[in-house]
Amino acid sequence: MNNDEMTEREQRVLSMARGLATDVQPQRDLWPGIALAIDDGSVIAATPRWPRVFAQAAAVLLLVGASSGLTWYTMNNDMLPVSIEPDHSALTFEPVSGSFGSQYMLGPDFQDARESLVAKLDEELDRLPEDTRADVEKNIATIRAAIAEINKALAEEPDSVLLQELLLSTYSEEIAIMQKVDGLAHAVMRRTDI
C-alpha cells in the first residue's frame, strides 16, 4: 500500500480531522501581554523601519564608495609616478560571521591588522605630499564616520545581515586605504632615497 492508499478507518480519521475545531479561544486574553511588549519599547514598532535602515545603508554605501573612489583617484594620479605593490599577504582577511556591530567584536586577526595600520598611519601620512595627505585624511574621516553610522544602525537592528556586511566592507575599505597609504609612503620614501 502506498501513501495515497487509505484504509476505511484512515479515511474516517481524515474525515473526523476536518471536523475538528480550528478556532479555539485561549483561556485568558493574551492581548495585554502583547500590548505591553509593543508598548514598552522592547519590541520594534511596526512602522516601516526597513526602508529607513536600507536608506541609511544605501547612503553609507554611497559615501564609502565615493570616498574610496576619491582616494583611489588621488593615489593613482600622476603626482607620484611610482608603481606601488602593497603587500597583501600580511593582511589576508577572513570574515568572521556575526562578529560586527555594536554588540560584537571584530575578529582578532582583523583587529590586529587594523590596529597595526592605525598605529602607523600618522607616521605614514607625514611622508605624503601635503595635498595627498589632506585628501587621504578627509576620506579616512568619511569612512570612519560611516563606520560609526553603521554601528548606530546596527544597535537598532543587530540582526541585520545587510548592515553587518556593510560594516564589514567599510572596515575593509578603511584597511585598504591605510594599506595603500602604507605602501605609498614607503614608495615615496624609497623615491626620496634615490
Partner: protein, 196 residues
C-alpha cells in the same frame, strides 16, 4: 461579529472597526503597518482563535500554546511592515505561529510535560459527528510523535497543502506526505483500540 473596539487613551490612535470581511482586514493591516496598535489589536481579535488553536494542537500544551500565540503576534507586529499581501494574512500569521512553536520546542524539549490537550480545549463547537469519537481523536492526536502531529494538524486539520506544510515546517513536501501517512496509520490504530 462586528466587534467595536474601544478607543484607548494612551499612545494609541482610536480606531473603531467593524472587524469583518476582507476589505476591513486590509484596512486594519494598512493602519497597523503605519504603527496603529489599535488596528493591530483588532487583527489580533480576528485571528487569535485560529492562531491559538494551531499552537495548541501543535504543542499539546495550553500554557505553551498561549506563549507561542503571544510570541507570534509580537513577531507579527515587528514584521508587519514586511507583509506585502502575497499570501492571505491568516496564512502569513500561521507561518509565524508555526515558527514560534518550532523555535520554542527547539529551545525546550518539554514533551513529557505536555498536558492532556483535550481537557484544555474549549467545548468543540465546530466539530461534527459524535463527540466521543472526536474526543478520542483529540487524545490520539496528542499521543502522536511530534513530526507526524505537526504535519497532520497543518494538512488534515488546517487544510494546508503538502507544499505549504513542508515550507512551514522546513521539510520536503515528500516528507510531509510520509508523515501524514504515518499519522493516519497511527491514529487509525489508536482509534481502533478505543473502539471508535
Amino acid at each position: 461579529m462586528g466587534a467595536q473596539l474601544a478607543a484607548r487613551t494612551d499612545n494609541y490612535e482610536p480606531v473603531a472597526v467593524t472587524a469583518q470581511g476582507e476589505g476591513d482586514e486590509q484596512t486594519l493591516i494598512a493602519l497597523a503597518q503605519r504603527g496603529n496598535a489599535t488596528s493591530f489589536e483588532a487583527l489580533y481579535r480576528l485571528h487569535i482563535g485560529k492562531v491559538y488553536g494551531l499552537c495548541l494542537r501543535m504543542t499539546g500544551n495550553a500554557s505553551e500554546a498561549e506563549d507561542c500565540a503571544q510570541d507570534a503576534f509580537i513577531q507579527a507586529w515587528t514584521k508587519l511592515a514586511l507583509f506585502r499581501g502575497d499570501s492571505a494574512f491568516s496564512t502569513w500569521l500561521h507561518r509565524i505561529a508555526v515558527n514560534a512553536v518550532l523555535g520554542r520546542m527547539r529551545k525546550s524539549r518539554r514533551e513529557h510535560d505536555r498536558l492532556q490537550v483535550v481537557r484544555d480545549i474549549s467545548p468543540p463547537t465546530a466539530t461534527v459527528g459524535d463527540s466521543g469519537g472526536m474526543q478520542d481523536l483529540e487524545q490520539a492526536l496528542d499521543e502522536l510523535p511530534r513530526g507526524a502531529r505537526h504535519v497532520f494538524v497543518l494538512h488534515a486539520v488546517y487544510g494546508y497543502s503538502h507544499d505549504e506544510t513542508g515550507e512551514m515546517l522546513g521539510i520536503a513536501s515528500g516528507t510531509s506526505k510520509a508523515q501524514l501517512h504515518r499519522a493516519r496509520r497511527l491514529l487509525a490504530q489508536q482509534l481502533e483500540g478505543t473502539g471508535t
